[in-house]
Amino acid sequence: MYKLWSLAWVFALLSLVAVGGGTAVLPEMERLVVHQFHWMGDQQFRDIYSLGQVAPGPNMLMVMVIGYRLAGAAGAAVVGVAFFLPDCILTFFANRLWYRLSQSRWRTALQRGLAPVAIGLMLSGTYALARLSITNFMGLSIAAVTFGILSWRRVNPLLLISAGGLAYLIFIIR
């Protein structure tokens, strides 16, 4: 029971500080889940993140698997509600307020000010994932090739991500 409460408030907090979206909150999630609460090792955390990449919909649905690992089906349900409901309620009311603020020039200040912070957080999220997944030349090559192809043209990311998984599997087997 105590674990369910911890899961609920940790993931509710994470959703409300996710300025810049899921990637932006990844370092804080790792900090809390792996280093502060010791709920799982960083490799399991990375593997669950990867599962999110191959499922449809928002990648951050992977938080439910973190809940599942820790407290079974109840854990998954608690984390799912905690991560999505408070943020939806906030967005619902903020959306209605936003149009009343449309004349306010503070609205522009808010957008312009939060944009670079959000980008910085996304960089941190990318860096956190890189530290967990790029441990050798093969990992680095997979990341670089994915980046190169996506900068060059639009390809469905799932294709590249599957190719990345396959490439690393061949690298391990060989």
Binding site: L16, V17, G21, P27, E28, R31, Q43, Q44, R46, D47, I48, Y49, L51, V54, A55, P56, G57, P58, N59, V65, Y68, D87, T91, F92, A94, N95, W98, Y99, S102, W106, T108, L110, R112, G113, L114, A115, P116, I119, G120, L121, M122, S124, T126, S133, I134, T135, G139, L140, A143, A144, T146, F147, G148, P157, G164, G165, L166, Y168, L169, F171
Partner: protein, 217 residues
């Protein structure tokens, strides 16, 4: 600019042809089921703007702008905003439920299977490769999303300060947001007369929007 525009352009249309809650659920469910590999927002745009024509590009980008400013996932925030504008609170609930349901089912299935096999070295190898590939993907997304911020000195300083605080100093995200957030907003506070640079920004934003409209599609 859009700041003086009243509500959203879909209001009148909504009164003439109310969108059914079931149709909202079905459309968001399709987007949620088919959006493999991330980029859910691009799928939402395709379904809502181009296929259902429930709102125009301008309305979509307005909602996106707010979604990006608010905490939480962009795609979920978009669903709440657009669902609410189409059919109030019931529309918002149907949109979010539809968007998340297919992913939740697939995610939990994968999660249960993974839990059984989590020590399998081959499975772990695949997942390491997926994560490494995701690093390349996230780098692309971050650079594209921030291409305006990366060329401005003030923004670069805020980006750098945020990165150093979170990644190198391991400072709690709450503290980072409560210090750098207000500081950055204050830096861009409204001034009595829009400066040349602010006008230049508005001009750039227009160009950025049309550019973004292009590549997101």
């Amino acid at each position: 600019m859009d700041s003086a525009r009243p509500l959203s352009p879909i209001t009148n249309e909504r009164e003439a042809h109310p969108v059914k809650v079931g149709a909202i659920f079905k459309t968001f469910f399709t987007a949620g089921a088919i959006s493999f590999g991330g980029g859910v927002v691009a799928y939402l745009r395709e379904y809502l703007v181009h296929q259902q024509k429930w709102l125009d590009d301008e309305g979509f980008l307005d909602a996106l702008e707010l979604s990006e400013t608010l905490p939480g996932l962009n795609s979920v925030n978009m669903s709440v905003i657009i669902g609410d504008r189409l059919r109030g609170i019931a529309g918002a609930a149907a949109a979010v439920a539809g968007l998340l349901l297919p992913g939740m089912v697939v995610m939990m299935t994968l999660g249960v299977l993974w839990s059984e096999q989590r020590h399998n070295p081959y499975l772990r190898a695949v997942l390491i490769g997926v994560a490494a590939s995701a690093v390349g993907l996230l780098t692309t997304v971050t650079l594209q999303l921030g291409h305006r911020q990366f060329v401005r000195l003030a923004d670069l300083l805020f980006i750098g300060a945020t990165f150093v605080a979170v990644s190198l100093l391991n400072i709690s995200l709450v503290i980072v947001l409560l210090t750098l957030g207000p500081l950055a907003i204050w830096y861009y506070r409204p001034v009595a007369h829009p400066s040349e640079s602010a006008q230049y920004f508005l001009h750039l934003r227009e160009r950025f929007r049309s550019h973004r409209a292009h590549w997101r599609h």
